[in-house]
Symmetry: D2
Subunit: 456 residues, 4 copies
C-alpha cells in the first residue's frame, strides 16, 4: 500500500462554528468522539484529499489509516487537531483556506443532522417534514440568500468522463458564468468540477466577485467524490434523497452532462418530479448536453426514456449537442421564466417551495440485496412509480460501484439481483451494458466488475 506525505496540524473554526456555547462545544466534542467520530473522520479525510485521483472510497480511506482527529474544547470555542493529514491540503504548512472552511462545514453538518434527527417535532417519514428539514439544513449552511435573482444552475454528470467531455463541461460552465449564472454540483471530479472551473474564469472576466460554487454531497459519496477546492459553499446532507431534494429546490435549472449510472439516477429523479401532475406548470429548465462524441450516449438515454417513461417524459428536457453557448443561453432564458413565475405566485427565489415531491422520492432507500431484489419494475405501474423505482435501481448500482457500504456488501454477497418486466429490463440492461463498454462506470484505469444482475 502506497503511503503519502502527511502533516500534523491544529486549526480553529473558519466560516462555520465560530461562535459556540460551552454546551455546544461539549456536545461537539462528545459527538465527534463517540458515535459520529467515524463519520466525521471519513468526511474530513475526503475533504483533505482533494488531490486524489481515485474514486474508490475504500482506497482513499485506506491510504491514510493513521489519520486522526482530536476535538479540543476551549472557552473561546473549538479547535481540531489533525494527525497524519494528507499533505496536499496544505501550502507551505498552512491548510488551504477553502479546505479549512470545508472541514468545519463537515463538522457543522454532521452534528446538525444528528441533533435535528433527535428532535421530537420532526417526523422524517412525513413528506412536508422532510422538505422542512432540507430547508433548515440549507439555511444552517447559510445557502439561503434572500433577494437574489434566480441564477443557480445545477450541473450533473459523470465523475468519470473523457478529456473532451471534461473540456466541454468547462466550456458550458464558462458560458454560464459569462451570463452571470452560478454553479451547483455534487462535488467531485469530472462533470462536477469542470463547470465550476469554467465559471470561475468567466466570472473573473465579467468582474463578478460573488460567484457561488455550491457543492451538495452526502457522507456515502464524499470519500469517492471529494469536493474540489473551488467549491465555496458546501453542505453534506445526510442521505441521497435529501441531497437530491436539495438540488431541485435550491437550483433554478439543471444541466446534465454525460455520465454513468449516477447521472441516470439523477435524470430519473428529476423527470419523476417534473412528471408529477401538480408540477406541470412550474418552469424548470432542463438541458442534456455534451460534445459531439457524446451524441450516441444521449441518443441511448433518450431512447431508454422513450421505452420506459414514454414520450411525455421526453418533453421535459432538451438535448443540445456540442453547442455550449446555446446550452447556456437556454438556461439563461429559462431563468427569466423561473423569476416571472415565482414573482407571479409570490414564491421565494431562494427555495422552490412549490415543487411537489412524492414521498416515494423523499424516503431514503437502503440498497441492500433484499431491497434491490424487491424493486418492482413493471410496465403497468404508474409512470411515476416506475420512475421512482428505476431511480432506486440506479442508486443501488452507484452504491455497489463506489460507496464503501455497497462495495463491502457486493464483496460479501455477490451482485444485486434486479427483477422486472422484460420491456423494462431489456432497455435497462442495454443501457448499463453500454455504460460498461463506454467506461462510464468507474474512473479509467480500473477494471469494472458488474455489481448487479438483471433478472426478467
Amino acid at each position: 500500500m502506497q503511503r503519502f506525505k502527511t502533516i500534523d496540524t491544529s486549526i480553529t473554526a473558519l466560516g462555520s462554528l465560530e461562535v459556540l456555547s460551552q454546551v455546544e462545544v461539549t456536545q461537539l466534542k462528545e459527538a465527534g468522539e463517540n458515535g459520529l467520530y467515524e463519520l466525521l473522520r471519513r468526511c474530513v479525510l475526503a475533504i483533505l484529499n482533494t488531490g486524489s485521483h481515485s474514486d474508490n472510497a475504500k482506497t482513499i480511506l485506506e491510504a491514510y489509516p493513521d489519520f486522526r482527529i482530536d476535538i479540543i474544547q476551549q472557552d473561546r470555542g473549538i479547535r481540531l487537531k489533525l494527525f497524519n493529514a494528507p499533505g496536499d491540503a496544505f501550502v507551505d504548512g498552512q491548510m488551504i483556506r477553502s479546505t479549512r472552511e470545508m472541514v468545519f462545514t463537515a463538522l457543522r453538518d454532521i452534528v446538525y443532522a444528528q441533533s435535528e434527527s433527535e428532535k421530537p417535532r420532526i417526523d422524517l417519514n412525513n413528506g412536508p417534514d422532510i422538505t422542512d428539514y432540507v430547508f433548515h439544513f440549507l439555511r444552517n449552511a447559510k445557502m439561503m440568500c434572500p433577494g437574489e435573482d434566480p441564477r443557480i444552475v445545477v450541473c450533473w454528470g459523470g465523475h468519470s468522463i473523457g478529456e473532451s467531455e471534461y473540456k466541454y463541461t468547462k466550456d458550458v460552465g464558462h458560458e454560464l458564468g459569462l451570463r452571470g449564472l452560478d454553479i451547483c454540483t455534487g462535488c467531485g471530479p469530472g462533470a462536477m468540477k469542470g463547470p465550476m472551473k469554467g465559471a470561475t474564469i468567466s466570472h473573473a472576466k465579467q468582474r463578478i466577485r460573488s460567484g457561488r460554487y455550491i457543492g451538495l454531497t452526502e457522507p456515502g459519496i464524499i470519500a469517492a467524490e471529494p469536493p474540489n477546492p473551488i467549491v465555496n459553499e458546501l453542505a453534506i446532507l445526510p442521505d441521497i434523497e435529501k441531497r437530491l431534494e436539495a438540488f431541485v429546490r435550491l437550483g433554478h435549472g439543471i444541466v446534465i452532462f454525460p455520465g454513468g449510472v449516477g447521472t441516470a439516477e439523477e435524470l430519473l429523479y428529476v423527470l419523476g418530479i417534473l412528471l408529477h401532475p401538480m408540477n406541470k406548470d412550474i418552469p424548470f429548465p432542463l438541458v442534456l448536453t455534451g460534445p459531439q462524441e457524446s451524441e450516441p450516449y444521449f441518443r441511448q438515454l433518450h431512447e431508454f426514456i422513450a421505452k420506459t417513461l414514454g414520450f411525455e417524459a421526453q418533453q421535459k428536457y432538451k438535448i443540445i449537442i456540442d453547442d455550449s453557448e446555446l446550452a447556456a443561453r437556454e438556461l439563461s432564458e429559462g431563468m427569466e421564466h423561473v423569476k416571472e413565475y415565482r414573482k407571479k405566485t409570490n414564491d421565494a427565489f431562494h427555495f422552490n417551495w412549490q415543487l411537489t415531491i412524492d414521498e416515494d422520492y423523499q424516503r431514503p432507500f437502503q440498497p441492500t440485496h433484499e431491497n434491490m431484489a424487491k424493486l418492482r419494475l413493471h410496465k403497468d405501474a404508474p409512470v411515476h412509480e416506475l420512475a421512482a423505482n428505476l431511480r432506486r435501481a440506479f442508486s443501488g448500482i452507484v452504491s455497489g460501484n463506489v460507496k464503501e457500504a455497497g462495495i463491502c456488501a457486493i464483496e460479501e454477497h455477490g451482485p444485486f439481483e434486479i427483477h422486472g418486466d422484460k420491456e423494462i429490463m431489456d432497455p435497462f440492461d442495454e443501457l448499463l451494458t453500454a455504460f460498461v463498454q463506454q467506461h462510464r462506470m468507474k474512473l479509467p484505469g480500473s477494471d469494472y466488475e458488474p455489481c448487479y444482475r438483471v433478472v426478467t
Copy 2:
C-alpha cells in the same frame, strides 16, 4: 385622551426573519395571533413610538388603542400589516429603516424566547442553563462578533435626568467613540440615549463606519423606555435578570451615570457579582461619572454602599466627577486589561464565560406585594445575599414606578412594604427619599407618589 396621527402600512422582514420555512411562518403567525399577540403588540408599539416623551407604559399603550398587527403568511416569507401605527415612525409614508428592523427584531425575540422555553433540554432554574440560554439568545440576535477586540461599553443611568446630566452623557459617549469604543445601553431616553448620540458623532469623526449601538431591553420596560432609533442592534430579553446577565457578559466594561432606582439596582447587581470570590481576579472596568452637579448624588450612593456592602465593595468602582475625557480613558485602558486577561485565559472576546453569577442573581424575581414583603434585608446576612436582596428591592420599586404590571398592582394594593434591619433600612430610606427630592423617580412634569413603604 389625546389622539395622534396614525398610519396603516404593510412591511416585509428586514435584518431578521428574512428566510423562514413555511412551518416557521405558520408558527409565527399562530404565536403572534394567540398567546404572544399582546406581548408583540406592546413591544412593536413601543418601538414605533420613539417620538414619545412619556415614560408611563400605560399612557403610551393607551394613546394608540386601535393599533393592531396582522401577520400575513406568504410562500416567500412573512409580512406584517400594521393598522393605526404611530405616525412618528414614518418619513413621507415610509417606515424609518432602523424602526422596521427593530419591529422584526421584536417578533424574532419574542418567538425565540417562547420556543426556547419549551425545549425540554433547558432547565431555566439551573444557573449554567440560564447562562447558556442568554448566550443563545444573543447569538440568535447576531450580537456575537468573533475576532473583534473588546470594546463594548455598557452605559447605565437614568432615563429621567436633567439637561446638564444629559449633555454630560453625550460628552462621555463622544469621548468613548473617539477612542473607538462601542456603546450598549438599556434603550430609552436620557442616559441610555446620550452616549449613543455622542458616539455616533465621534465615530463619524474617526471615520468608523461599523460603530455598534446595542440596546438590551425586556418586555416590561420597553414601553416605558423605547429604543431610540440610533440603536442598530436590539435584543428584547425575556426578563430583567437575563437582560442584566446579558449586559455583564456581552459588555467589556460599564459606565454608570446618575439615575434613579433602576440605576441603583444595576449598580447593586454588578457589585454583587464582582464581590463574588470566584470573580475577584477578573478585570472589569466600572466607572461612576456625572457632571459637577451630580457629585452629591454619587457621594450619597458611595455612602450607601459603604453602610450596606462595606469598604470592599467601594474598591470595585471609580467615581469620576465632571471629566468625560478621564472617564473614557479609564474605560479605554481597562479594555486593554480585559483583552490581555481573556487572551491569557483563552476566553472568548465576545462573551464573558468566566464570570461567575450566582443563581440568586439569575432567577427571575416577581415583585409582587408578597415577594417584596418577604425580602430579608439583614445586616448579618452574607454581603452577597444582602446585595442580591437590595437589588430585588430596587427592582420592585422600578416596577411600581414605570412598569404596567407594577403600576396596576400598586393601584390595587397600595405601596409595597419592605422590611429589614434599621442599619440597612435607614440608608435605604434616605437614598430613596433623596431620589424623590431630586426628581429621579419619574420624568419631570409628573408628580411622584411613592410606591413603597419602609418598615424596620
Copy 3:
C-alpha cells in the same frame, strides 16, 4: 494672551497625497516651504482648531504663534511634522482621523491651485475656463461620484446664530438625512454645522453608511470658519467666486438659513444666476427657512429683494417658517425634478454643466477700499448687474468683519464707503442695520463696529 495646550506630532498622508512621485514630493516640500508656506500654515491651523469658539481669524492665528509645519521628504512619500499644534485635535496623543485627512486635503488643494494656475492653457479671466477649473478642482478632491442620484443639498446660513436657530438647522438636517439627502456647507459653526449633525444622526437611523458631509471653503474664510470634524469631504477653493460656483454646480438644491451678510451675499449670488435668461428652465430647488423667531429676518430679506431685484426674483425661492419637515420635503421633491431634467437633457448628475454663470460672477472681486467705492448700485442697471454688485458689496463687508486681510484694511483705512442710488441704498442700509441689531454680524459676545459706511 491666553496660551493653550499644544502637541508636537508627525503624520503621514491619509485620504489624499498617499501616492506621490519623488518630483511631486520635492515640489510639495518646496511649495510648502516657500511662497505657500504661510497659506498652508493658516489653513492647517484652522483645521486643527476645530474646538475654538472664536470667529476672528486674527485671534485664532495669534493664539498659536509657535505653530509650525515641517515637510519631510521620503522615498515612500511625504510626512508632516507639526510643532505646537492645538491639543484639541488629538485624542490620547493621536490626531483625530478626520482632522488628519483634512490636513492633507489642505496641502493637496493649495498645491493643486498653485500648479493649475501656472498652466499656460488656462485663462482664468475666461468664463468657460473658470468653470473647467472648478470642475477639475472638485474632481481632484474626489467629489465627483458618477452614477449617483442627485441628492446634495447645499445649506447656507450664519455661523453666528442663536441657540434656537441652531437647533432648527439640526432639525432640517435631520429631516433631509431621513430622506436620504446629503449635506454640503461652507464649513464652520452655526448653520454650517447644524445640518451635518442632524443628518449624521438621521443617516444612522436610515442605516445609510455612505452619507456625504461636504465642506467647501476658501483660504480667507477657513480660519474664521474652520471645518467641523463631521465634514468627510473637504475642498479649499482658491477664492470666494470659485467656491460659490462650486456650490451651485455640485449641489442639487439649496437651503438658506438665517445668517448675516455672508448669507445675504450667497442669496444674491444664486438669485443673480437663476435670474439669468439662459437658466430659466433649469430646476433648482431653493428654500429659505428658519424657526418661528426668524420670521422677521426672512420678511426683511424678502422685502429687500422686492425693493432691489423685484417681484420676479422673489419667485425663485420659497420661504418656509418653522416647518423643518416641509422644508426637507420641498428639497426631496425638488431632487426628482432635477433628476428628470438632467436625464432628459443628457446632463451629468455630478456637475451642473448647463447652468450659465456670467463672468461678472466668476471673476474674483478684491474688496479693497477703492473697489468698494467704485461699485455701481444703481436702480437703472440691468437687474443682473445690480445683483452682481450687491453681492460684491456684501462680500466686502464679510471681509471687513471676519477676514484677516479685511480686518487689517479697516484698521488702517477706516470703514469702506459704498455708493449708490437712494432707492437701493436705503433698503441696503436698513438690512445691514437690522443685522447689527440682531447680532448677526459677529459671534455673540464680541461688540460690532461697522466696517462700512453707506453714501447715497
Copy 4:
C-alpha cells in the same frame, strides 16, 4: 480573406474616464478623430479580438477592415460607438465587462501619453524624467496601491509555447496564487495567460477576492498579443522601454518561462539592470523555470549568458526545472526580503524608486535597418553596455517577427544586418537558430522566415 461575425454597439465609460470635463471630452474626441485615431483603433481592435489565435498583427488588423470607432460627446461624458466589432467580445449582444473596461483603458492611456508628452516640464531624454513619467502613467492607470505588501510577480515568457510548457505556466501561477501572490504579465497568450489562469483558480481556493492580474503592454505589441480577459488592470505604455521599466519598478520579483526572442530581450534587460553597481544590494527575486522538456532551452540560455555577460550575471537568477512549487516558494520567500529591505530603506512598496536604470535602457530604440546595423556588440565593451545592445538586437528581431512596422520594414528592405565580434555573434547566432528550430519565433503553424542576418 476570411470574414468574421461582427457587431455594432455603443458603450459608455467603465472603470476609467467616467468623470470628464467638457473640455476633456472635446479633446478626447479630437484626439481620437485626428492623429491618434489609428492608434486607438488598433488597440481597441486588439482588445476586442481576444478570441483570435494569430500573432500576426497585420493579419488581425486586416481581418476587420471595416472596424470603426465614433467618439460621441455628451454633457454627461463620453460614449463610443463601435461598428463591425469582433463578435467574440460579446455575450448575447452585451460586451464582456472586462473588455469594456479595457477599451476605455486604451482610450485613457493613449490620450494620457499624448498629453503628457506635450508638457514642457518633461524632458523624455532625461532618465529621472522618464522614471517620473512611468510613475505617473501607472498612477493614472490606478495601479499604485499604497499600504499593500509586496506581492506582484512579473511573469515573462513566450506567447508561442508548447502545450506542456503552457500547462506548466498555469501550475506556477497556481502555486503563486496559493501563496497570495499577484500576477503581472505582458498580456497575450501562452506564458502571459497561463499564470493568470492558474492564479485565478488558486485565489478562489484561498478565498482571495482582490487578486490582481496586471497587464502591461504597448501599442506595437498589443495587436499581436492582445490582453486576455482575465487581466483586471491594464496599461498600454507608449513604448517598449517604458513598459520594461514599468515591469521592474512595479513588480517585486520576476519569473521567466521558456520563450523566444522577446523573452531573451526581457532577461537581458533585467540582468543589465541588476548588474549595475548601484543595484547590487537591492533584493530582486529572479527565477527561470519550465517543465522537464525545457531544460535544454534554459541550459542554452544559461550558456549564452556565460559566454556574453559572464559568471557574475549568472548569479543574479536561479533556474528551477519542473518544480512549480519550489519556483513559487522561491518568489514567496523573496518577497519577504523585498519587504524588509524597503522598510529598512524607507522606500515605497508600490514603486521601486531605488533601482538605478541607466539611460541606455530608458531611451526608446527604433529598430530600423540603420539602427540595427549600428549596434556595437563587442566583447571589450563594458558588460553593461553589451547587455544593453544585446537587448536592442533582440528587440529588433521581435519587431521584425510580429510588429506591424517591423514586418513592413523587412518586407521592403530584407532582413536586418547585425554586426559584432565573433565571440559574441557566434553564441548569439546559435541561440537564435535554436529558437527557430524549437518553433519559438512564431505561433506554430506559421513558417518562420528569419528577419535578421548575423555579420561578424
